[in-house]
Amino acid sequence: MITQEQYRTRVKELLSSGTVKMVIGYKPGSTPDRRRPLFIRTAEEANRLVLDSACITNLSGYLVTEGLLSDEKKVAIFLRPEGIRSINILAAESQLNADQIIILGFDSTGSVVKTLDGTHAGDFSELLGSIKQNSPVKPSEVLFEQVEQMTPAERFAFWQEEFSRCIKCYACRQACPMCYCRRCIVDSNQPQWVNTSSHTLGNFEWNIVRAFHLAGRCVECGNCGRACPVNIPLRLINRRMAQEVIEAFDHFPGLNQTQEPVLASFKKDDSETFIL
């Protein structure tokens, strides 16, 4: 609660001094354990802000809303460390100017919310570096291990079962801060790369493409999995991709704004053991 008051005061200062034109934060949601995004433009509204351990959504995707940052004014946003990594990636991919983003950083352990020191994405590089050091390369989740140990045929059957529930609502795409393409590959129909109806075959294509486009860019904020109405464990695929890019290319996405996107760069001595 102290942290919440601290941040409300800070938001009031930012808005009343005219430093930022908008603050993106959280407000209570439909149930006690859910939070909704809140967009405020005046200092009076700051008391509507909520900040607690239930604020888990990565809000950074709202920053790439068309026209929001084109007036070169600043926007403040509440972000967890994953969110700060998203900002770095978006800046590295030239989607926004990180100087326009004032970060109200926070993190939580259990129900305790703690503040993160810094105002711009660049101020958090030490924190992000230590996250890279401390995150295990190999994921520790039981389900992940089970999937890894299956035979290819069993894995195919597992995903067939999961993807058969997909209704192609593209909520995973809408919720993802990294899915900012004006025209997504699934929306283009000449040629039609991904079948639009939600049969399992097309669902395979969609989920493979989604995961591939996020490879080396995903910060595992979990927005996609939480948005999925049929609870497909998308995090498993994202995690496998994260593991692959760190093992093969030592790439941990979102460390800083100058990090080259992993699939848009190369080294002459990249591994090629699989090439005949």
């Binding site: 999937v147 890894e148 299956m150 290819p152 045929a153 069993e154 894995r155 195919f156 059957a157 597992f158 995903w159 067939q160 590959i185 790369w193 079948n195 109806s197 049969h199 399992t200 075959l201 097309g202 395979f204 294509e205 989920n207 493979i208 493409v209 995961a211 591939f212 490879a215 080396g216 498993l236 695929i237 496998r240 991709m241 692959e244 890019v245 093969a248 290319f249 992993v262 699939l263 848009a264 760069s265 190369f266 080294k267 002459k268 990249d270 591994s271 090629e272 699989f274 090439i275 005949l276």
Partner: protein, 149 residues
């Protein structure tokens, strides 16, 4: 089945090296398995993973992707980009349950007509041993059956 299984293989090749290598195999009158359907593209960097997926979705039992050796790319580094992409894509396919043995990658230069012929033979043999990609084909059939209703 009375007839032996003949796999359908789609080969995505770059025009400057592998396609020229295939040409050399042809003009040298080398014999190789007729199971491969070659698709010529400007560069391996142009080969989107979507192409590979689409080939499988249209009933291919195996896919071959081939281009210039590292350092030989006509566009100087298209194949370096492609190599990274394949590395990631391969592990993705594996994790989804599409056996990575069904998708092969190789470097073949314009001078390697013999390598091209040998590779086609060995890939065809490998895929023949794996058999048809039944799990995927079932999905294709299921989809087509729905479409006729």
């Amino acid at each position: 089945m009375s007839e032996p299984f003949e796999p359908k293989i789609v080969a995505f090749v770059c025009t400057y090296c592998t396609y020229a290598g295939a040409d050399l195999a042809g003009t040298s009158r080398l014999k190789y398995a007729p199971n491969v359907r070659t698709i010529r593209l400007p560069c391996t960097g142009r080969i989107s993973p979507m192409f590979i997926l689409k080939a499988l979705q249209k009933g291919a039992d195996g896919v071959l992707v081939s281009g210039c050796h590292p350092g030989d790319c006509h566009f100087t580094h298209g194949n370096y980009h492609a190599r990274r992409r394949w590395m990631v894509f391969r592990s993705l396919l594996d994790f989804i349950g599409i056996p990575p043995e069904r998708v092969k990658y190789s470097w073949i230069s314009a001078a390697e007509g013999v390598k091209f012929a040998e590779l086609i033979n060995s890939v065809t043999e490998d895929i023949r041993k794996l058999g048809p990609f039944d799990q995927y084909k079932e999905l294709i059939e299921e989809t087509e059956a729905e479409a006729t209703h």
